[in-house]
């Protein structure tokens, strides 16, 4: 016993989970969707994803190293995850410079000014995406058709998304081949195609207890119920657009979602309602990003007022 004894308060053992482990697990859960994206969009997907991830890493590194003069925090994987999720929200033919702007905005405006990981109010990837959507509406809403453009990047054949076409009245709900949608033959951003791949990711994250079921299930159920109530096809609404991507990977972002299960349910239900409202009556065909960002804003309020049920609050059974 040559060394000093360590003293510290209990507990003296600790889970093997770390922040970066959690981040990498989410990235692993995105692999099926990633494979889908490569399969359907080929080289374009690769370029957009790599650019976005590198852009996010570079921005975070630059800010921590030169502006904050702190230890770089790249290793925890959160910048990589943000980059990946941002790319999943972009069309595969987006020019590199626009992707880079998105990455810089996501990290440089969406995350670091609030204090970095854990302090941001809004989901950084969505901040980047919405910024691009408003700044470059044309580029952001032309969707290369999946499967046909494996080796084309900028001049791919494009088409509208299902929701876009429905908004313009070009497509009646009866004409949608849901099977094609499920495996990804409809246009859309990188991560929107391939519902099955996204659900695989959800299953993985639930199995590893990375996230709880509350947020994704409440969003999907609300969208289905609400759209059924107003006469839209619930299955189409759930399977199309960024809904699954948003419900599974974007809305469940740790930092910007509520902490307790009750709060998560409220958050999920509200996202579902706002999404359908925007899709149905708003100007945009797609409302998921806005819905999540709006509810991100309400998250602190939910945390403040929605408390978990305390042990001993229930009337005892005698």
């Amino acid at each position: 016993m040559n060394q000093l004894l360590t003293i510290s308060a209990s507990p003296h053992i600790h889970t093997s989970r770390t922040v970066s482990w959690c981040m990498w697990q989410v990235i692993v859960a995105l692999i099926p969707a990633l494979v889908c994206a490569f399969y359907f969009f080929g080289i374009g997907a690769a370029i957009v994803i790599v650019t976005s991830i590198l852009g996010c890493i570079a921005t975070e590194y630059f800010i921590t190293r030169y502006l904050l003069r702190a230890k770089p925090t790249i290793a925890n994987g959160s910048a990589i995850l943000t980059g990946l999720l941002l790319a999943f929200n972009l069309p595969s033919n987006l020019p590199v410079w626009i992707v880079l702007i998105g990455a810089v905005v996501a990290i440089g405006i969406g995350k670091m000014p609030f204090g970095g990981l854990g302090c941001n109010i809004f989901n950084p990837a969505l901040v980047g995406r919405v910024f691009l959507l408003i700044s470059f509406p044309a580029q952001m809403t032309t969707w290369p058709l999946p499967g046909e453009n494996a080796w084309n990047y900028v001049d791919a054949t494009t088409g509208a998304t299902i929701l876009g076409a429905m908004k313009l009245g070009e497509l009646s709900p009866d004409g949608i081949d849901l099977w094609a949608k499920a495996v990804g033959f409809a246009g859309g951003s990188l991560g929107e195609v391939g519902a099955v791949a996204l659900l695989l990711g959800l299953a993985y994250m639930l199995a590893r207890r990375i996230i709880s079921w509350h947020i994704p299930v409440s969003i999907i159920a609300t969208v289905a119920l609400f759209s059924w109530a107003i006469g839209a096809d619930p299955l189409v609404q759930v399977m199309s657009g960024g809904l699954l991507l948003g419900a599974i990977f974007m809305a469940t972002d740790y930092v910007t979602s509520p902490m307790c299960h009750r709060g998560m349910l409220i958050y999920g239900v509200m996202i579902g309602v706002i999404t359908v409202v925007i899709r149905q009556w708003g100007a945009y065909p797609e409302g998921m990003s806005f819905a999540i960002l709006i509810m991100n804003g309400f998250t602190p309020l939910i945390n403040r007022y929605i408390k978990p049920r305390r042990f001993g609050e229930r009337r005892s059974s005698i």
Binding site: L4, L5, T6, I7, S8, A9
Partner: protein, 287 residues
Amino acid sequence: MSLILSSIIVLGGIGVLSAAVLYFVSKRFHVVEEPEVALIEAELPGANCGACGYSGCHDFAVNCAKVPSLEGFNCPGGGEKAMSAIARIKGVDSVAARPMVAVVHCNGTCENRPIKSYYDGARSCAILSMVAVGATDCAYGCLGEGDCVAACRWNAITMNPLTGMPEVDTDLCTGCGVCAARCPRSLIELRPKGPRGMRVYVACANREKGAMAIKECKVSCIACGKCARSCPHDAIRIENNLAYIDFEKCKLCRKCVDQCPTHAIHAVNFPILKPKSELAGTIEEKR
């Protein structure tokens, strides 16, 4: 053209409307306050340290303005300057308060008090004091995690990395006492600054018997009572195996200082007279 015009009209309209709302709200909900309050508050340091006993500087100013005399009011942070300025504003005599300074009753540096265990946890003395005795053997001395440093609103306390002990900057310290309230071991006491900063105090808080105390720390008070016997002014009393110098009675003669076998009594800011200053090791004199 019409685009520009309509933009100007719309944006300008919104601006005018907002201004009107703001104006209305500020008028409608205006809180009438004594003009004196603002004047008094301007003289206060604005640190909201709470040492005056009120919840922040504004509260202090409101209460100052309410009463006719300044009896019982003191802003340790602003010191005499602030209080006399407030007295001028109110047109009353200022009540002089003795300037105080925070004194740490411990000299358990790494050299004097060996580190016996490694503390691994939240950096807070209050938490460490709940975990165990601390990183050293002494159950009364400084824990060295810097709660006082964090508590000080005046940046007057710093942690010396060499000694592991907090050091009070006499010039910056306002004697507000926030650190004294925060220290979980109650090691910090407010004592009068003294003429030209001269002070004599016991730099130990160990209340164990001498034999155990000296084992724990080389410079602990062993309650031998030599200082009390040597004091011509009856200013030193020994209670719970610990000497305490009453600053009301102490005449700064320093007879006790040389008597102390463990050099636990510190005299600071005295002009150096003797070449054999055993006290050269104390923190304040180095400065």
